[in-house]
Amino acid sequence: MKEQLQKDFDNTIGNLTLSQKDIEIKKFYLDNFINKGFPNRKEEDWKFSDLNQIIKKNIGELSFYNDYTSTNKVDTSVFVDGLEHNKIVFINGRIEKIDFDYEKKDQIEIIDQSETINQFNNNSSLSDLNSAFTNKSFKIVVKEGYQLTKPLIIYHTTNSKIWSKNINLRLNFELYKNSSLRLIDLFRDTSEKNFLNIFYNFDLKENSILKNYKVDRFENKNIKYSFNNIEQDKNSVSETFILSSGSNFCKNEINCNLNGEYSSAFVNGIFSINNKRHHEIRTIINHLTENTKSYQLIKSVLEDSSRAVYQGKIFVNSKAQKTDGYQLSKAILLNKDSEFNAKPELEIYADDVKCSHGSASGSLNEDSIFYLMSRGLNYQQSRELLINGFLLDVVEKITDPEVKNLIKNMIGIKE
């Protein structure tokens, strides 16, 4: 792999106009990655999902060079109907379109950061890989007091032109005082066997609101890793919703630092997976000051021999009195081969706190099925009704009505 990495790295650098210093920095990250390699199960954070093995098994040899010199045609048919929205379109990892048609131009600033390399507060080998190979990266700034009128949808599209490729993406968002942003990540893949490595950084200033919905719905054979770092100032609110379903392997990581008083973070997630898919959500909520709040709810429905993992951590440092932290994960295993692993973790150094977590996993409740069947539904209908109700609980947590409807339609949940 080392030679491949070196060669692809040289090719990638060749297409960029970087200063000597930046090239050095990128090289530094490359060397870091070469040393560490893909994470494996020996690392505590990857205990339940051995990425190294997964890539080996599903993809084999990866190549890291992507030719971004020619443009791809944007297929408008993938766009979401019936919801006016702003767009960012990635095709095979190349940014094809950034469009904030519905917003005031002077309130949103898009800064091309491709030539500056900013470090990520994550010392995993995947962040090194990302830093070494990201091609273009943008920073999107929402100015003080501005609230986007329409949601922003980021389309992550891949097509059959690429095969066994590693794609690295990076975006930075900064929300100034009193601003708000609704962001939907929509994955549309028709490619096979690629590894997507996505890093987002959000900087939330006082009173700002971020709502991030990540939707990986459509079946595909890709492997995905996505990392969100969220820094929160006083009174800010972040809401993250994850629908984890379509990819062969997907790991979403949320790292949230509640730096300002009265800031709060909400993470809600659904695993709805079948076949041999293997998905994971890992969250770390750091309560770093007084009066902060976090709430997490993760529900899983596992079919066939699928496997879901939830690792959630609530950290409360000794200054963070009056913290309110809550975490709940529930899983329904529908097949004898399915598997659910959880590691809900509390690390608490302050005494005046209210923190709790719960985790439950098991089969569908036979009594409930019996009840529904005695009311005239057949087995299949009863099962669907119960699963729908189980998942609806999480979807109802979405605070934005437009997005809630969109997602309900997408999953086919009826009320």
Binding site: D337, N341, I348, K354, S356, H357, S359, S363
Partner: protein, 480 residues
């Protein structure tokens, strides 16, 4: 006067902190094959036992000390320890209690375990382990009548080699982790209990461990085998003198329950926790594991952990037999600079197996407490159930309480439920108690005892009273 006051103060802190001047025989310092042979020789062990030890030692040499635990400690120099220490008068074993060194008896009296008189009233059979040697076992004849074997393990190796050979290392193999393997190589003594088929042990069996000599690691090995349809309740208590340096205690406890058998194992651990500044104290790195080998068997662990500078142990159940049951009830209290990383493992292998975990953690002062547990339901263990509840209480903002459960469910016909909460003592409750005339300290004691009740109830009567007091004493000075 000053000295006397000091003495009283000391006793208030840790009343088992005295040392006894008894002449000791020690193995040469350090760990090597010769020391192991020395131990084996002095115990007059058969060849197979020596082979067992040497095999473990071979393995130990290849192992690295684990470092994933939460409480970190300075590196232990394993060559700077004595691996065998015995009161000199024990070399030729006394035939009965009257032959015992009076000083030893005095020590046990101070500990509240008068070997001679009181036990007759209480009806508990005691095996007392002093440093590395089992010094006295009471009530032997009565037990023998029922066919129960309860004796020091060194005696069992001589007298019941077939049983020891069959079960020793069957739950904790010599190739296990670092400290367990070290124990397999150098263990000195411990208790052995065998309950024959269909016998319900008429009294509680009990072991008292005491580390006396300095610079000694204590490595006991306990093996309890409950044959088909039998029942036994076993108690374990531990204390050590106050010393400035840290002492290592790495025991192994193996339980085997055959068809329809039940073992109840209770521990009140009160090793010396170190002084207020965290100096000294015992490192309690113990491996405890029970195997529910037969159908419908049951193993239940109850522990009250108040002592030790560092506690690092996970009493576990391997639920191999169909319909077997594992239980774990724990109270862990840390104060001052104590650290604890404790919990359990429930490994479900058989069908219809059930496990229950109730863990209560209380941390005060500058201490740090972690519950770490594993529930693993394998794909063959259909129709299994687990329920876990871990609650933590924090007192003050200099201490920490952490929960790290690992939950693995590999089949759809099993259910796992896990809950954990962390909070502090509610102001309203405190206020209410104080209003009724209790001091702040008494009020805390009362509330904490209520918080722990679920676990305390599981202890046998005699222990429950002791444990309840201990809970109060351990938290003294943590309020206000």
């Amino acid at each position: 006067m000053d000295n006397r006051q000091k003495e009283i103060d000391n006793l208030k802190d840790y009343k088992y902190g005295f040392t006894t001047d008894i002449e000791n025989t020690r193995a040469p310092k350090g760990l090597n094959e010769d020391v192991i042979k020395f131990i084996s020789n002095i115990k007059k062990e058969p060849q197979w036992m020596l082979d067992f030890r040497l095999k473990a030692y071979e393995r130990f040499k290849q192992l690295k000390e684990p470092d994933w635990q939460k409480p970190k400690y300075p590196k232990i120099d394993y060559q700077d320890l004595y691996y065998y220490s015995a009161p000199k008068s024990m070399i030729d074993k006394p035939k009965n209690l009257d032959d015992l060194d009076p000083k030893l008896l005095e020590t046990y009296k101070k500990l509240g375990i008068p070997l001679q008189e009181q036990k007759r009233l209480n009806g508990i059979a005691v095996d007392a382990v002093f440093d590395s040697v089992s010094v006295a076992t009471t009530f032997r004849e009565e037990l023998t009548k029922q066919g129960i074997i309860f004796c020091p393990i060194s005696e069992a190796i001589q007298n019941h080699p077939e049983l020891v050979k069959k079960y020793l290392g069957s739950v904790i193999p010599v190739t296990d982790h670092f400290f367990a393997t070290l124990n397999s190589a150098v263990f000195t003594d411990g208790s052995f209990a065998y309950i024959p088929q269909g016998v319900r042990c008429p009294m509680e069996l009990s072991t008292y461990f005491r580390i006396n000599a300095s610079n000694t690691g204590q490595f006991e090995r306990t093996l309890i085998v409950a044959d088909k349809g039998s029942y036994v309740s076993y108690l374990e208590g531990c204390t050590a003198p106050m010393r400035d340096e840290n002492q290592l205690h790495a025991a192994n406890v193996e339980l085997v329950a055959l068809d329809d058998a039940e073992i109840k194992y209770s521990t009140v651990q009160n090793w010396y926790p170190g002084d207020k500044d965290g100096k000294g104290g015992i490192y309690n790195f113990v491996t405890k594991r029970g195997l529910c080998k037969g159908k419908n068997s049951k193993i239940s662990w109850t522990q009250v952990e108040t002592g030790s500078a560092i506690t690092w142990k996970y009493p576990s159940c391997i639920l191999k037999g169909d319909n077997s049951v594992g239980e774990f009830y724990s109270i862990a209290i840390t104060n001052n600079h104590q650290k604890a990383d404790t919990g359990t493992k429930m490994i479900h292998l058989g069908k219809n197996t059930k496990s229950k975990i109730i863990s209560k953690g209380i941390s005060a002062g500058f201490s740090d407490m972690t519950y770490r547990g594993l529930v693993d339901i394998s794909s063959k263990a259909i129709n299994s159930n687990n329920y876990t509840q871990c609650d933590s209480l924090l007192m003050g903002n200099k201490c920490g309480a952490h929960t790290v459960p690992y939950i693995k469910n590999k089949n759809s016909e099993s259910n796992i439920a896990h809950e954990a909460t962390t909070s502090k003592i509610s102001e309203e409750q405190l206020h209410y108690c104080q209003q009724r005339g209790l001091s702040a300290e008494e009020a805390v004691g009362l509330i904490v005892n209520g918080f722990c009740k679920e676990v305390l109830q599981q202890l046998p009567m005699e222990f429950a009273v002791e444990a309840q007091k201990l809970v109060g004493i351990s938290l003294e000075g943590s309020v206000g």
